[in-house]
Amino acid sequence: MTTPLPVLVFGIGAAISMAAVMAYSARRSRPQVRKLGPARTYYRVHVWGGLLFLALLILHMSFHLPRSGFGFILWAASIWVVVTGTLGWFLQWLVPKVLTPASSFEVNYERIPEFVNELRGRAEEVVARAEPRIQSYYSQQMASELAAPRMSAASLFAGARGRSTGGVDLLRRTLSPGDAAVLDSLCQIQNSKREVDAHYTLQRVLRGWLTIHLPVAIALVGLVVLHIFFVVYF
């Protein structure tokens, strides 16, 4: 083979680090194989292996840019995977730290629709017994928010969460204390819903990130296999 030896060595090294990186994915979907080590190790190998892959890739290409169509696609996919991976690493560090203070309770992503339905049910129960003005205010201002979980950046910040919908203060001033208490309980329900929104937003961000990282990574694996075939065959 006329490939210079360093290029070949770095190429093989990059392929090996890619295989090590894939081990994390296998560990996640097959937790039975626990005797092969805790998932934490696999995660660390995945992240550092990915960075090593990038370094070896750069060396493998001898610091050149790719010169052919196929090479460009391989290279672009690799860069994309490593960059989104690094982004994901950062996100996985950041999101829990933002999400945890943003909400006083914990809810699983799959249970969120159920909770929102329950909150809405509770609100409707309260509203059913309330004064007509509260009822109309609710149906105009609050009902849409309680209809379904939604992505919103404002839900991450306590200040934005606590900000009431327009006109609440005015309405409260015109109500009797008993009705004001009813309005307050509605606002509390709304606040809870916003906290659920915070969970929904950030957990969706994490799941969405997976969408940009994983398919390209699988495609990259396939392309690398093809690349190895081409190198050997030609």
Binding site: Q32, A39, R40, Y42, L99, P101, F105, N108
Partner: protein, 512 residues
């Protein structure tokens, strides 16, 4: 009778009848009418309504000779009253299981009788046995066999509690039994009284008062005069102090510990420094002040020990008063049962990416169904997952009809044997922390299933965390988390340390 009672009776009937899995039970009848029940002298004094109320929890069983009633180490929620026949109780030499948890509270076992190891005792009609284990939730220390054909009145725990509350005479009688059989043993094995000379123990035993507490009962009130030293037999007490217009929790004691030692030692302290409240059901021993001080004069090493405990307690109280979040944590721990816990699954929410790999790991280690859910209370950014705590005094053990849920030793994990479990759900009902789940297996009971009510019904089974005891790698939840957010802590103190470490606060630790 009302429909509910009929239904409950049917359930309980099945629970009783599943005991026929044990050889030796010749006949079992439950749900007697009040007039039938009043024929038993123990129950003579009660009226019809009361008897009707407790009748589902009573049964009359006839046992063959040489039948095993229960083995040592069993958790029972039944007290036995011998109507006819004789029963042998043996204290076998236990095998040395090393507990896996460092037990922080005293391992008090139900030594119903002041037996020496290998000794056995024969009891006959009119005797009661097993009620201490039932009341306190402790494992039996003796093995009981029937010597002859016996007829026993078997009283379940709810009825037992009601009986004791209703009847002073019964309470006195049972306390008498306790005094005679077990009190000395308990006093001797209490750490603070260890090594005390037997005559001093006797002196104490003569004057103690036995108290049963409901959840929330105030045992000692801050500012009121101190008249007793309180020793906890089972359950735990929450100690609080008034601050401003409210009160904060400053300490807690569980079984084997004492309250009131500093008040007794220091002459100037005539009133309680704390308010002591029972957290759940508690059994207490109250030692009058003068008797205790008399004994104290004759036992200088006891005094030294008490001073040490008092000193520690003062430090602890001061620390908690100075840092209200420590008090808050204590309340939280008491409420969530962390003080009882031996192993709590805590998830650091500031690291957890909500990927649920922990649940997945648990599920795949246990055949596809997870043993916990990633839900629960959140405290300081830590989620206490609803996973079994392996309590020091597990309430789930009491009442299992088949013995599927068990603990091999006092310091060991609590495990459910899925082959034996019939899915009745009593352990799940008893667990205050929602840690036991019942799930369908997808098959139905055959036509020859022993619990008759279940024949043809879908089969379900209880399951809970077993700490992955068989696996050398340890709990699957911890090793499946890619970020190391799932941590197992061994109780409230370790949780405290964890919070301090992870949230990087530099507060002085509460002395353990």
């Amino acid at each position: 009778m009302s429909e509910t009672i009929v239904m409950m009776a049917r359930q309980f009937d099945d629970r009783w009848s599943s005991l026929t899995a044990r050889p030796g039970l010749a006949e079992l009848s439950s749900l007697r009418r009040p007039d039938q029940l009043r024929q038993i002298d123990l129950l003579r004094e009660f009226d019809d309504d009361f008897l009707r109320d407790i009748s589902p929890d009573l049964a009359i069983a006839t046992w063959e000779p040489q039948a095993t009633l229960f083995k040592a180490g069993t958790y029972l929620d039944v007290a036995f009253y011998v109507l006819d026949g004789t029963v042998d109780l043996e204290l076998q030499v236990g095998d040395a299981h090393r507990p896996i948890f460092a037990t922080r509270s005293v391992p008090l076992a139900t030594e119903d009788f002041n037996l020496a190891p290998g000794e056995s005792l024969r009891i006959g009609a009119g005797d009661v046995f097993g009620e201490i284990g039932a009341m306190n939730g402790w494992p039996q220390a003796v093995t009981a066999h029937t010597a002859t054909r016996c007829t026993l009145l078997q009283i379940r725990l709810p009825a037992l509690r009601k009986l004791k509350r209703k009847s002073k005479a019964l309470k006195q009688r049972m306390d008498q039994v306790y005094r005679e059989r077990t009190l000395r043993q308990h006093l001797r094995s209490t750490p603070v009284l260890q090594g005390l000379a037997p005559e001093l123990i006797d002196a104490l035993a003569a004057h103690v008062e036995l108290v049963s507490c409901q959840p929330g009962d105030v045992v000692a009130r801050e500012g009121s005069p101190v008249e007793h030293l309180i020793l906890v037999r089972s359950g735990s007490l929450r100690m609080s102090q008034a601050i401003g217009t409210g009160e904060i929790a400053v300490s807690y004691v569980s079984k084997g510990s004492t309250v009131g030692e500093s008040e007794l030692l220091v002459d100037e302290m005539a009133t309680w420094e704390v308010t002591a409240t029972s957290v759940g059901y508690s059994e207490l021993v109250r030692i009058p002040r003068e008797d205790f001080l008399r004994v104290l004069k004759r036992a200088p090493e006891l005094e030294k020990r008490l001073w040490a405990i008092a000193g520690e307690r003062i430090k602890e109280i001061a620390s908690r008063r100075a840092h209200l979040d420590r008090a808050d944590l204590l309340d939280f721990s008491l409420a969530k049962g962390l003080t009882q816990a031996n192993s709590v699954l805590v998830i650091d929410l500031e690291t957890c990416t909500r990927c649920d790999d922990c649940v997945r790991g648990c599920a795949s280690t246990h055949g596809g169904t997870p043993r916990f859910v990633r839900e629960g209370e959140v405290h300081e950014g830590f989620l206490i997952a609803r996973s079994c705590y392996h309590c020091q005094d597990p309430t789930c053990l009491v009442g299992c009809p088949t013995g599927a849920i068990s603990r091999t030793n006092i310091g060991d994990t609590v495990a459910i044997d899925p082959a034996v479990c019939i899915g009745c759900g009593s352990c799940a009902e008893n667990c205050q922390y929602d840690s036991i789940v019942i799930h369908d297996l997808g098959v139905t009971w055959g036509p020859d299933a022993m619990p008759r009510h279940l024949r043809g019904q879908p089969r379900s089974v209880a399951s809970k965390c077993d700490l992955c005891r068989e696996a050398p790698e340890g709990p699957a939840c911890v090793s499946s988390c890619p970020h190391g957010a799932a941590i197992r802590v061994a109780g409230a103190e370790e949780f405290d340390v964890l919070i301090q470490t992870k949230r990087r606060r530099q507060l002085p630790l509460v002395p353990a």
